[in-house]
Amino acid sequence: MPSPPPKLSSRMFQKSVHDCPYCSFELDRADLTCSRCQSHLETLGPLPKDGAVLLESIMDLAGLLQGDAEKVKKMIARSEKKFPQLKLIFCSIVCPENFTPNTLGWWMLNQGTNPQLTWTGLLLVDPASSQITFQAGYDLEIFIDRRKLETLLTECGQWFTLGEWSTGAEKFFQNLHLMLKNAHQESREIEKQALKLL
């Protein structure tokens, strides 16, 4: 039986840098705390050991999608079928006190009980603060270009401004699907080149 190819360093594929979810300071790959604000995950509070939430594809806690959830679910399912490693989530929620959409999304991903959390992408919408954020697990974030992601969020936000919540979400996941297809192609090329050199 042929042995699986060796795991390559994420550095080879990394498309963007990372900022601290608290203060947006640029982080090194392996910083355990932010060198500016000294924050880390447990700054938010300890991760729950019991009652951790199973993340579902559509978590419309703010009731934005109403009857149109199926459209968004369909788009998510299409991407998950094409990219079986991934799990994509849409979440609308009014952030509780002490949380921003960034930190809340981050916390949700790290406390979830789903398998493949490192391959999960979470689109979180807070209608109260009019913010959208996209959080990705370690495995997925490598292949997402920050600039392209910003463009997708901008377009999504424009739909939200019109009150078209489901359309905005649908468009986001549709464009994300295309972005991931390109990213996949590029990553396979890089992998091929890298394995040749090994």
């Binding site: 979810p21 790959r29 880390h40 094409k82 959080q135 370690y138 490598i142 936000g157």
Partner: protein, 237 residues
């Protein structure tokens, strides 16, 4: 311009008394007698007159010569006839001209082809002179065949065969066109089918990203967090 000075070509005059006029002594006396006897027999029994003229011929254009031979043949014979005229001093191959009642219903293409073949066969590789004896006998036989074929409606059959051959040729051409069309259509279908199958395959194909090694950030086990966010204008109430 007439090359012959003095003696007039036989075919320009009245019908000769014998079927062979050999002023150039091309064939031997024995052969001459044998051939004469044969040709007389053909004439008496089968109504086919074959005249052999071996002499200096006027140097006329070919078409003109043939025209004159045709006229001569019609005046010398009221049966089926042929004139074989050969000038041993010239480089021309023998003239073979035929005519008579049988030509009206004969497949002239076929006859001409037959005569051409006989002329080729009469050429002797060891000599630059044609075998006139062979040619005369074969031409006589051919005319007899065509005359009898006319009577037996073989000419109609030959015509029918020609029509049939044409029809078969057309059918073959149609088959070829059909076959080519089918081939092109098959290739086209194959290509389209291939494209469609590939599209289906590509749409069904699962895409897997490479597995990588990554360090944890900020003490988080699954996600290192992101500050990519967007502020949108709240929708109008």
């Amino acid at each position: 311009m007439l090359r012959a000075q003095g003696a007039q070509a036989t075919y320009l005059g009245t019908r000769p008394s014998s079927f062979i006029t050999d002023r150039s002594s091309l064939i031997s006396q024995e052969k001459k007698m044998s051939l004469e006897s044969f040709l007389r027999h053909q004439s008496n029994i089968f109504g086919t007159d074959v005249f052999v003229l071996l002499e200096t011929l006027p140097d006329l254009p070919r078409d003109e010569s043939i025209k004159r031979f045709n006229k001569t043949g019609d005046s010398w014979s009221d049966q089926n006839w042929a004139i074989i005229a050969y000038d041993p001093k010239s480089f021309r191959s023998p003239f073979v001209v035929s005519g008579g009642p049988f030509l009206q219903t004969t497949n002239s293409e076929f006859l001409l082809a037959e005569i051409e073949l006989l002329q080729d066969l009469s050429l002797q590789s060891w000599s630059n002179k044609p075998d006139i004896d062979f040619l005369a006998r074969q031409v006589a036989g051919t005319l007899v065949f065509f005359a009898r074929a006319r009577d037996a409606n073989v000419n109609e059959t030959v015509q029918d065969l020609k029509v049939q051959a044409n029809a078969e040729r057309h059918a073959q051409e149609s088959r070829n066109i059909l076959f080519t069309g089918l081939l092109v259509a098959s290739l086209f279908s194959l290509v389209i089918g291939g494209i469609i199958c590939r599209k289906i395959y590509m749409s069904q194909r699962k895409m897997l990203f490479p597995e990588t090694r990554w360090p944890q950030r900020l003490g988080a086990p699954y996600s290192g967090g992101s500050s990519v966010k967007y502020h949108f204008e709240p929708p109008a109430q």
